[in-house]
Symmetry: C2
Subunit: 303 residues, 2 copies
DNA sequence: TCAATTCATGAGCTTTCCCTATGAATGTCA
DNA sequence: TGACATTCATAGGGAAAGCTCATGAATTGA
């Protein structure tokens, strides 16, 4: 047998109270159990810890030394329990995840804000990467999950759609634009347009879908960042071609989105997880927040 | 139930080996026992520690954190065991004890030397105090025992005589002195004498015994320290009146002791211990050394 | 598809653990 | 001084746990 924490618990109690009976009472065990545990510990360590008579229990010098070590171990044990409980309840910890550049800038800020409000002590490590890097990075780094738009299936990675935004024209609430329920891609020609650069995933999806129908987007401006597009749109430079989900209403109150049809394209925002890996409680809480926040933003499939 | 060290041992082994089977083998238990222990620990902490399939055992983030704490506790436990074992075997530790001034200067140095040779890592805290203070200090301080000459009995303190020296005249190996087997107190008048001051315990014992017989010591010199008396004697200033045990033969090779008779007085050197208090292993070792060293110096009761 | 490996689970046995009861020692108070 | 009270140690028995063995399920590699 080996030293046990139970023995140490009794030991420290006896050391402090200088009484086996009192220590036993403190710990909710009988005096005989406490007496036995002390004897075991002494046998284990090969050292007399208390000079005891029926009248007094005096710690030896060895006990003085052992006490410090025992207290440390017990407080370590308690600290471990507490820390794990905090982790379990997502009151502490860290969430490391990946986000595609677009999602990170347009969609996740509000998730982050809400999550931080409810879980102020959790450290957040969001790494924005190119959409193509999501899957390889998720497999290789310590990120627990990834959020972004991906297509296809991947070994060992589960993909779940959190929200899905229809590709829309986003513009100022002007009379002629606001009046429309939707626009066709062809009708876009009437306005100046602001689209993402050809290298971006969003743009590639658009170009591919349009060219399948013999059409083609011919934007007035091309930008790299979603926010740039929105800011330009707010200035009245044109209509931004983006998934509706990418428009933060609170940040750009003057802008509205109108779905583009013929073809109607949707861009999913997915949650990627490594299969067979449990998310940390903190990550689970974050994902839950993301789910609720983003679910409210899903564009209905028809309309 | 609470977290146990056994659980933590299995946990760290699994964490390191990333396999329940291997960890179980390491610890000499069956795979099922290890599996169970891990499940218990998870339940206890409320946290998933490993993502396990039949093929792999992956630590979670919580496990990463727990591992550090667990390792610390286990090494603390091992350190405690080792330290206690060292104490038990008197390979480490501290001996704090009291010694009367005379004993400390004349008798204990050789004990200290021998003890230090056999127990080099034990810290020695010898406090020399007035003989009258031995008992009160022993009760009040953290000294484990005391060595010195005391008379009478004391509550809660056991007294054991380690050696006993007959009061003797100590002088240089001159023809007339060396020829004597013993001297009477009356014969002392033929030589100049060096005695301890009246305030010292030794002197008080002498004066008391002599005056009971209507005699009286009339020393040429009176000193406070035994070593002073011996040094003066070595210079040929006279005969030192001291217990024979107080003469370190190696330090004063020119000096010899001749017992004083009519009356023959002996002065015990005793070991004082608090009743019901175990000596630390280190102290036990020291006392054992003192016993053997001093036993060799006991003046035979007649001669 | 089969064999091999690995983790989880259930049954049963062994060991440990803890409580009750009692004994022994010591201090207290009349 | 003697009865009483308190405290620690120990013995016995029953409950709980811990462990092993056997088996099942899942997954990998030949």
């Amino acid at each position: 047998m080996n030293v046990t924490l139970r023995q140490l618990r009794v030991f420290t109690a006896v050391y402090r109270t200088r009484s086996i009976t009192r220590a036993a009472g403190e710990l909710g065990i009988t005096q005989s159990a406490a007496s036995l545990l002390i004897q075991q510990l002494e046998a284990q360590l090969g050292v007399k810890l208390f000079d005891r008579s029926t009248r007094s229990v005096q710690p030896t010098l060895a006990a003085d030394e052992a006490f410090a070590a025992a207290e440390r171990m017990l407080s370590d044990a308690q600290g471990l329990s507490r820390r794990m409980r905090d982790l379990a309840q997502a009151r502490a910890g860290r969430v490391a995840f990946l986000a595609s550049a677009g999602t990170a800038s347009a969609l996740l800020p509000m998730v982050l804000a809400k999550f931080r409000a409810s879980h102020p002590d959790i450290e957040i490590d969001m790494r924005d990467v190119a959409a193509d890097d999501l899957v390889p990075r998720l497999s290789a780094t310590d990120a627990e999950f990834a959020i972004g738009s991906v297509e296809g299936e991947f070994a060992d990675i589960t993909v779940e759609t959190l929200t899905s935004g229809r590709l829309s024209a986003i513009g100022r609430r002007t009379a002629d634009f606001a009046a429309r329920r939707s626009l066709t891609w062809d009708e876009l020609a009437q306005w100046p347009t602001i689209a993402m650069r050809s290298e971006t995933r969003i743009r590639m999806q658009i170009d591919q879908a349009l060219s399948a129908q013999g059409k083609r987007l011919d934007p007035t401006y091309e930008v790299t960042l979603i926010n740039t597009a929105l800011a330009m749109t707010a200035q009245g430079l044109g209509l931004a071609i983006l998934p509706a989900t990418m428009l933060p209403a609170d940040q750009f109150p003057t802008l509205i989105a109108r779905p583009l049809v013929r073809p109607a394209l949707t861009r999913p925002v997915s949650l990627l997880q490594r299969q067979g890996r449990t998310l940390s409680p903190a990550a689970q809480a974050f994902v839950a927040t993301a789910r609720t926040v983003l679910a409210g933003r899903t564009t209905p499939p028809s309309g």
